[in-house]
């Protein structure tokens, strides 16, 4: 699909190394995670459907990369594929490379990938209600990654747990550690989940809709916390969400996904102020905003979300696209580079139509 960034990325490493904030040690690569042509399919009785279809992207050290998409876009499946958490069967990663810190995660043995999960790459899920085990106290759960991945003794694990709870700003950590999940509110549980994710000081945090189940006022607190923590620890974050508002504030770069493909990629500013893919543009226009002038009508994207088992020929977005041309119905557009950081997969030149 995209004969892309490997060469380009390498070139830009030289150019940007100076402003990366980790020490410049010779060839310290700027990219932490490099995903190339990832394809994940799900088999069923009558064939298979492709949930992630040739996705390539990089995560740089210290950055927050957002993956934005709606249901069926493959954003969560992409994240789960990185850590090989796809239930198999029916799921299967059929193609691609996931290079993390010099290793291809898709080639590792089951034992080796277990060493990476929770240790070097941590995942924070969206459901704080079900992601914690109700019969274990908080200390046991936050300490679990350390029990698995480090040789600390009980005392030092306890100390570390106290420290972690303090970091995620849970008051009175010693007492709270002995509590059980049902004694925590939703926001506190999500904080505990984050503490769990941070326990082994991962290089990469994958946060899958970390605040979707929370109230707005709590959501803001959690996102600020995540942002501060990744900055303090120099870790990278993949933020998966459907909420454009969240992305605008917290992401450095954004991948927009539709029907298992990346359709547009760029910096926050480019995506929000100069969207070049009709889907991205449609998303922006359809979100109700607080600062809308009164009486404006929303401009929804017509039609229904894509049915992965029955995608149209050509560009998968064309049936819902108001700019669709004949070419869109015939051939699928590749992801092509527009400027240094801006990529899109679309035949239409939006600037003409705008």
């Amino acid at each position: 699909m995209n004969t892309d960034a490997s060469g380009q990325g390498a070139a830009s490493v030289a150019g940007h190394v100076a402003d990366a904030d980790q020490p410049v040690t010779g060839e310290a690569p700027r990219t932490l995670l490099q995903v190339r042509n990832l394809r994940t399919i799900f088999r069923h009785d009558h064939g298979s459907l492709t949930a992630v279809d040739g996705v390539s992207f990089d995560v740089r050290r210290g950055e927050t990369l957002a993956i934005v998409g709606e249901s069926g876009s493959g954003k969560s499946i992409t994240a789960m594929s990185l850590l090989r958490l796809i239930p198999s069967p029916p799921g299967e990663i059929v193609d691609g490379e996931v290079e993390f810190d010099g290793r291809d995660l898709l080639e590792l043995s089951d034992e080796e990938i277990r060493q990476i999960r929770g240790n070097e790459i941590a995942m924070i899920f969206q459901e704080p209600m079900t992601s914690l085990n109700p019969v274990l106290n908080i200390a046991r759960q936050i300490g679990e990654p350390m029990e698995i991945h480090s040789r600390r003794d009980r005392d030092s694990i306890w100390k570390r747990c106290v420290d972690l709870l303090r970091q995620v700003r849970i008051p009175d950590p010693e007492r709270r550690l002995k509590a059980y999940p049902h004694q925590f509110s939703g926001g506190m549980r999500q904080r505990a989940m984050i503490a769990m994710g941070l326990a082994c000081e991962p290089k990469l945090i994958i946060a899958d809709e970390p605040t979707t189940a929370l109230d707005v006022t709590v959501q803001a607190q959690i996102l600020e916390l995540l942002k501060d923590l990744t900055r303090d620890h120099h870790s990278s974050m993949i933020l998966i969400t459907h909420d454009l508002g969240v992305v605008a504030r917290y992401a450095d770069r954004i991948n927009v996904m539709y029907a298992g493909r990346i359709v547009e990629r760029g910096t926050s500013d480019e995506i929000f102020n100069h969207p070049r893919h009709p889907y991205t543009l449609g998303l922006m226009e359809s979100v109700p905003r607080l600062n809308d002038s009164d009486g404006t009508r929303l401009r929804p994207i017509p039609g229904q979300p894509p049915d992965l088992s029955n995608l149209p020929r050509g560009c998968p977005f064309h049936p819902r696209c108001r700019f669709a041309m004949d070419k869109c119905r015939e051939a699928e557009p590749p992801l092509e580079q527009l400027s240094e950081e801006h990529w899109k997969a679309c035949w239409v030149d939006l600037d003409d139509k705008h």
Binding site: T217, Q221, A248, P288, D292, P300
Partner: protein, 344 residues
Amino acid sequence: MTNTEPLLEVDNLQVHFKLHGGLLGRHQATVRAVDGVSFRVDQGETLGVVGESGCGKSTTGLAVLRMIDPSAGSIRLNGDDITLYKGRQLRRIRRRLQMVYQDPFGALDPRMRVLDIVGEPLLVHKLTSDRHAYRKRVLELLDLVGLNPKMAERYPHEFSGGQRQRIGIARALAAEPELIICDEPVSALDVSIQAQIINLLEDLQSELGLTYLFIAHDLAVVRHICDRIMVMYLGQVVETASRDTLYDQPMHPYTQALLSAIPVPDPRAETAREVDPSLQGEVPSPVNPPSGCPFHPRCRHAHDACRETKPPLRELQSGHAVACHLYDPAASEVNAPWPVARPA
């Protein structure tokens, strides 16, 4: 607003749940889910009810629908006091009140065809004479909500979330209700689909003259569709105002904090946006609410009066009521009303 009788008038509504525990099921505690809420909805308007989880907004909706028995207060629908209706009388009143649900996946019986789902209110209230008229009416309704009438024979699982929500709306319209209660009707939908449903609700309102009670947590959605807005916190109304007033001049510190917490999909506005730093912590449990003003533990303007007495809901300007001691004319030694500002 006219001086005619409002369509819905709720006065001092209270819903208390008793928690039972122990071996003998003794009464342990009382949850004051809704604690003295009063409001009115006029014919043809949309009243938005907003607040975070546990604020009692959904319980208020269910109490108006008479799915939950109010502990005190009264509910009047077009002049009929429906608070104490029971049995057959209650079932009949439900033709006049319909609900659109949040979860488009759970709200439709998976074993019924769309034809039967949408038409059920017609059968329940015996609104059609024969099968042909019934079928015709259901197909009309599907057409009205933007679904292809040919889909009437299908089952819910064959539809996407947005389409299911349309089916739910068609069902709510079937019995020609006087008031439609929308409980978070778009929050479970995809972003691109939310706008479709909001527009549909607006179109139906102008076409059919519907009246909505619109319950939601998303202030941006509420701004789009509501004429007046009521902000709830821990079972109480903290502020009521017309849409423009509420967004341009929020007065209650909670409303201000709520507005400041909403992310805006625009990176430049976002970097400029200040999240109200005072709003730490979470909504307290309604089992054991704080004394005085329910918001005082999270409020940066809280002073002694807030901890002791509960501020009444006072109408400061026409149609703009606030329950906050900051605006108490008697207690003038306290800070003047705190500056009303919000980055546009």
